[in-house]
Symmetry: C2
Subunit: 113 residues, 2 copies
């Protein structure tokens, strides 16, 4: 089941796919990070989000050091298979800064819309 699902993902030339994490009930977009096939497999097997750090070149389990764990309820694949949407239940802040989401700091409002 998981293997069939993973086979539908179009990983990029680095073997990675961007994964957007959204809080399942409030619908906040929490963060975006990358997964390789193995991180996705681990996420599906454990129910906790596992990502791949491009800078460190290794997998990381969300919340393993911070305690702000991210439980994954559902994974969706977009129409061309190259982006994932994770519906999650995030404990505490999703951002390494402690903010609830990674998008809380800098914003620009466009006038007239």
């Amino acid at each position: 089941m998981s293997q069939d699902f993973i086979a539908r993902v179009n990983f990029n030339e680095q073997g990675l796919v961007p994964a957007i994490a959204q809080q399942w009930d409030t619908h906040e977009v929490l963060m975006m990070a990358w997964m390789d096939a193995s991180a996705l497999e681990r996420t599906l097997a454990t129910g906790e989000a596992t990502y791949y750090s491009r800078s460190r070149g290794e997998q990381w389990v969300k919340g393993l050091t911070s305690g702000n764990r991210q439980f994954v309820r559902e994974v969706r694949i977009d129409c061309d298979g190259d982006t994932l949407l994770l519906l999650v239940d995030q404990t505490g802040g999703a951002c390494h800064t402690g903010d609830r989401t990674c998008f809380d700091a800098i914003s620009l409002t466009i006038a007239g819309q």
Copy 2:
């Protein structure tokens, strides 16, 4: 103002940044696409989402051919500057398939969460 904002974005080695589009009121995650600095500048200037197609190597204005226009109310930059979140007002379906979102087709529920 726009230039200061754009200067805070960390574009990747191809000069691109992923942009997540979220319906501002229902909070649906609609799609993810890429922008170069010029597409972001055009988005901020016009208030309509302009992306960069990696396959075609050119900018495209969302909805220009389909009529399903995407009006941008706010742009947020994430904590490390390498992902954008657009709060938009999407006319009709955001997906080229006609679906409301690009994440409507394939999903896997993780048991026990």
